[in-house]
Symmetry: D2
Subunit: 255 residues, 4 copies
């Protein structure tokens, strides 16, 4: 059969990225506490394409993913990117995986156990050497300092999400990121809370009011003090309870 993809192209335009997108695939990765965690990732994989080739070979992405899915840790991403470059004969490769990750959490007073979901992502690019980022979305509670200050009692509060993306040296677990940022808002959130926990969280939040501006700054300060984080971007979104729209703030470190 004729291999059209390998034929010559004379439009003289190099393609930055070509590949597969929105592929749902089961993967396994290391878990700081339990050894291994099974999850399901939405995967994008792509390579650059020189101007003289007409097309890439899409099926090879799936083969690379299938071969590596049982140990798809962030530390293996470099090896996978290298493999993509090799089998697709490309100068650069790019891969993104977004997946839910679960951590067993203990309620603050009752110590009741349950699992809490954090949406995470790995983002990797490689031309000569791999550049890898780790992303984690941490749900939190934000309580408005202005509302507390001006009101006779109460203060509006709401669910928010701290979305961080970091580059780092050495080892950095998803669990480490969560530990660093989860107490940067007004209170932590949980899947399972008994009444004594609900009291604790309500009061904790009231004593720690935070604007989205405060939350991004608290996280940035924490990351600035963490030696092995070499770059970060922090976005906080707060689903304001008094509005039908959201508040947000973004801080990035210098590149």
């Amino acid at each position: 059969m004729r291999d059209i993809q390998s034929e010559q192209d004379d439009r003289n335009i190099e393609i930055d990225r070509v590949g597969v997108k929105d592929l749902s695939y089961p993967i396994s990765l290391s878990d700081k506490t339990h050894g291994q965690q099974h999850t399901i990732a939405i995967v994008n994989m792509s390579v650059s394409l020189p101007h003289h080739f007409r097309g890439t070979h899409m099926s090879r992405f799936i083969e690379v993913l299938n071969r590596n899915r049982r140990e798809l840790d962030i530390h293996r991403l470099g090896t996978i990117l290298k493999e993509m470059k090799d089998v697709l004969e490309a100068e650069s490769a790019h891969m993104e995986l977004e997946f839910p990750y679960f951590i067993e959490k203990e309620a603050p007073v009752s110590k009741a156990q349950s699992l809490m979901e954090y949406k995470c992502r790995f983002v990797g690019s490689m031309t000569d050497k791999p550049h890898i980022s780790l992303g984690v979305k941490v749900p939190v509670l934000t309580l408005c300092p202005c509302s507390k200050e001006i009101s006779v009692h109460g203060a509006h509060n709401q669910r928010g999400v701290i979305d961080v993306l970091v580059r780092f040296k050495g080892q950095l677990w998803i669990e480490d990121i969560i530990d660093m940022v989860e107490d940067c808002a007004s209170a932590k959130v949980y899947s399972l809370l008994k009444r004594e926990d609900e009291k604790y969280i309500t009061e904790t939040a009231y004593e720690n009011p935070t604007f989205v501006e405060d939350v991004v700054r608290n996280v940035a300060q924490r990351f600035n003090e963490t030696d092995n984080i070499t770059w970060y971007r922090v976005e906080v979104v707060s689903f304001e309870s008094i509005h039908h729209h959201n508040a947000y703030a973004v801080v990035s470190s210098d590149d």
Copy 2:
């Protein structure tokens, strides 16, 4: 050209609904205050298909919609369903439109004006005579009675949505539904609030704690007392600020 759709089918299976789905189309409808409102609907249109025909004629749905889009009020839905039945030679027709609808709202203290979005829907079915329902999603604030009761100060609160679907006799405006249900939770929400408004809403919510159970009951009670509402379904979802999941409650009237 051969008309395959009109050919005979011998599988002897009548099709409940066949048609077009997820079509985005600009429409105009009557507005209680300003005469007319332009919006954009996601439209589903379908008809039943007798067992002996192989297919329907999809392009005719678009033609019907295009002819009626400039006056697409809930009171015209019966006429449109009749037109669908006629041009598609069908025993029954069905149509759903979901669209954002905007109302000019005044902040409670400052009287500052802004526009607030309510997602609405029309649902119509017709075999012999049309059956039409009106749906409205009303964002509100819910403040937890339990959290208020057990905590020294504060109470967790959050955005919620009251989603109602009603059948009615006579005239019933989207604006009427919103007026009836918007004060059934702890406080109303707005697009634009100055500080004096934020104080007012924070305090109002604290004085009116509501579980999702309270909100659905408040709405049901209001609808039970409204003569021209002949049937309803009310669902309340509350985006709990202390959790990463939601609370909900549903009440329907008897059919």
Copy 3:
């Protein structure tokens, strides 16, 4: 602490369903081929609430789910619903789980192996005895019979989804449903295809043109002939390649 939820309510309105919604939780279930499959479900759990109680106890839903998550098969759903009724002292209970399920598929010619995702759901309700349904979304290829008939060469084709919900007696695996419905459209779809497979699928689809009307009828016919399926609803959506909207068809068996 005062237990507000257990207090009396005098609005005299019984609540159909109250509970938790959109909770993401890891579960394990039986797999026809490999014994067990780990996946992640979006879970809704609710109970009815008599008119004289003010509220339900939301944390108990999470406790029931947490206790049962490691063996969350469709055959255990009755037991879980019973447990929900007991711990929440309710007359009826309701539970829905939606989750991705993966099956190892072999490409039709090359026999290359890969995993393919099917979104599935369990829906259970119980007052006296449990009523359980199994839902599966099966991606397929549909090729338009009209376009093939009227065109000199080619025919427009596209991805579609067959969404079935069935009630059944005895044992029925997700794998069985997929086997029954996957060849009811123009061709099957796969995650990994080599060129010889692509040729095979292109030609198979061209030789088996199907309208959405044909696909729902093919599935309905297959289910009518299957003794242990006691009720079904089939919806087919086709993401028409010549339009920016979709075509769809729905058939239900009599209740």
Copy 4:
């Protein structure tokens, strides 16, 4: 009342962007053919915040939007960004609007008229002077050259989307972008097609097979030849009919 937002902050961290997000608001903009078009935008507005201020004033974003919503053309975005900088006393301002835009299209043979939706976006940033981009998503049909080449008859095809973002000098209408890119894939798509149009599109697509690689290159070539386009990014996604995942390609011009 105390103005907490204006108080001092000593964490010494400047915030890149703080503001409102996901606000749905009705806007009006110029239409090349009909003078004016009403639509509904999802709006993000933000400003930078110097390290010494604790918070921004969120309500002012809504006031700026409300004042400008009736003439929200891309050419006014600079003025609005300037207004945001002024009322929020900020060094830089940023605004994004995403909205559906409708164009009346004529079917290729029957000349039947209907409206077709294109999702568009304006993206603007301003420190000293405004930098504005225009984004348009154009649905198209892609037909696989490889599938056509290797198969006895037929070729798999599917809906795709060309997503372009451009910077430009002078005047550039949404309609101009659509005209430039809509014929860069295998065929155009429409809301309303009669049978003679379906034949035309099916045959046109079969005669013009395109990989996603071809489509991005065709668009890039067209933009390279257009003098007043000073920068572009083109992404093509194809919802492959033989898979449950998508193919994509991206090309950007040099900055």
